[in-house]
């Protein structure tokens, strides 16, 4: 994967099994967003190929809602390629969106927008939900709340989740397994419990000696 002459991703392979929640952590500019864009077909690789099995829905960095359309329409457009356009499963998952159904998406709070973005992706009935920067700009309690809904969905429906996070601690807590991406390469991979103890990972992503 290249941008001009710069190689953004190089021979990256990751797998997320059904029912799994997997984290992808890495510093700014490591290539996490590029990887998700490649997986969801938004970017075409410069060499080699991208292969993935299963349907992926991508919750993009920065939410990318249709800000002039209302919440209902945002959700329904998420189902463009799906058979059912009924948004009620999303309202069941995030009941706080129900009263906002007719509100302009651009006017919602960050947390509400993230729920709409996740809901819109779920409308495509994916096998894998890939979320870029779940916690971006959100208060910890909102992140907790959204994460709780995601875990529940993962347990109940077996939906696979790939969580891209700046906040490595959050990501490792939520997910059973994780990949560490550095300048376009996977440098670490393993169960969250092991990565949490890894000194290199601690230094780079968990604030070093502050972690006890």
């Amino acid at each position: 994967m290249r941008y001009g002459a710069a190689v953004a991703l190089d021979g990256v392979g990751i797998s997320v099994e059904r029912g799994e929640m997997v984290a992808l952590v890495g510093a700014n500019g490591a290539g996490k967003t590029t990887l998700l864009n490649a997986l969801s077909g938004m970017l075409v690789p410069s060499a080699g190929r991208i292969s993935c099995s299963g349907r992926i829905a991508h919750v993009p960095e920065g939410r990318e809602l249709f800000s002039d359309l209302n919440v209902d329409d945002n959700l329904r457009i998420g189902a463009w390629k799906a058979t059912s356009r009924d948004p009620s499963p999303v309202y069941e998952l995030f009941p706080q969106l129900q009263p906002l159904a007719k509100r302009r998406a651009g006017g919602l709070s960050g947390g509400e927008q993230q729920m709409v973005a996740i809901g819109r992706a779920l409308m495509a009935k994916p096998d894998l939900l890939a979320i870029d920067e779940l916690s971006q700009g959100l208060a910890p309690n909102i992140v907790q709340e959204i994460s709780r809904h995601l875990v529940k969905l993962n347990l109940e429906t077996g939906l696979a989740v790939l969580l891209v996070e700046q906040n490595a601690r959050l990501a490792l807590d939520l997910c059973t397994r994780a990949y560490v991406l550095e300048t376009g390469r996977i440098v670490e991979e393993g169960p969250s419990s092991r990565l949490r103890e890894d000194p290199a990972v601690q230094r780079a992503y968990l604030g070093g000696h502050l972690v006890s």
Binding site: P60, E64, W80, A124
Partner: protein, 284 residues
């Protein structure tokens, strides 16, 4: 009194022409964010094609229908040139101006420089409150009204219409959802072409068109579209009627020479008003 009515009815008819063009601007802008200054060219080319078909003996109705389809096809080609190259918005705007100039050249070579007209559907003139009206006026108003309302509902109320709108709102997210954004853009250009062509074939029996008539049509259509912020088909219709009626009253009671000056003056005020509204929305 009858002069007043005459101007009013003529103005309404012109207003629907502008509204058709304005809706072309709106549809294309809502899907692609492009301001298509070749909009008036669709009307001129559509009208001229109908003129040639009628002269070749093709019956009324069929000629007009073929001309509208041809205008849609021209719209598709213009759309392909404008949006498939991933140009910046300014690049696309310049491209549409270039295409308008190209169409004028083609129209001049193929049809010459004299104003062209053809007789509309026959039918006796009807008398309304002391004014004689050609049936063509009613045809223009009736057909435009139906087309505009249907299109308006289709854009605002249907799923495909919302999908089209989402393309301009956030093309990246629209692609993520699986929408073929380019194809939607091409569709909008084809619709814009058909709307322009329809305006051309309906107006030509009442007001002859010249090969370079597209410029003033584009400006007035754009002005009407600006009333609805380039996004609302309903307000574009209102805008079209305002400009059509204003044009006929200025021409009738004052002087036809002042028509465009007044129209451009109103356009300027509208643009200033829009700019103010945008600014206060940003602050709000």
């Amino acid at each position: 009194m009858s002069a007043f009515l005459q101007y009013l009815i003529t103005g309404i008819a012109r207003g629907f022409l502008f509204a058709l063009l304005a809706t072309g601007f709106v549809v294309i802008h809502r899907v692609t964010k492009v301001v298509n200054f070749a909009q008036g060219a669709f009307a001129v080319l559509g009208g001229f094609i109908a003129y040639s078909l009628l002269r070749a003996g093709v019956p009324h109705g069929v000629s007009e229908a073929i001309a509208v389809l041809a205008a849609a096809a021209i719209g598709l080609v213009f759309g392909a040139i404008t949006i498939l190259g991933n140009m910046t918005p300014v690049g696309s705007l310049i491209t549409t101006i270039g295409l308008a100039i190209l169409s004028e050249a083609i129209a001049m070579i193929a049809w010459g420089t004299t104003p062209l007209t053809f007789s509309g559907i026959g039918g006796p003139d009807i008398q309304v409150a002391g004014v004689f009206l050609q049936t063509q006026y009613l045809l223009l108003i009736g057909v435009s009204l139906v087309v505009l309302v249907v299109l308006w509902l289709a854009l605002d109320r249907t799923y495909v219409g919302k999908g089209m709108t989402s393309c301009a709102s956030n093309p990246y997210a629209a692609r993520l959802a699986g929408i073929n954004v380019k194809r939607m853009g091409l569709l909008s250009f084809a619709i814009g072409g058909a709307l322009g062509g329809l305006g051309g074939v309906l107006i030509m029996p009442l007001f002859p068109l010249t090969y370079d008539g597209d410029v003033s049509l584009s400006i007035l259509g754009f002005a009407a579209a600006i009333v609805g912020g380039l996004t609302s088909p309903g307000l574009a219709l209102v805008g079209g009627l305002v400009f059509g009626i204003a044009e006929q009253f200025v021409a009738g009671y004052w002087s036809p020479a002042n028509e465009s000056a007044v129209a451009l003056g109103i356009l300027l005020l509208l643009l200033l008003w829009q700019a103010r509204r945008h600014r206060s929305e940003e602050i709000a």
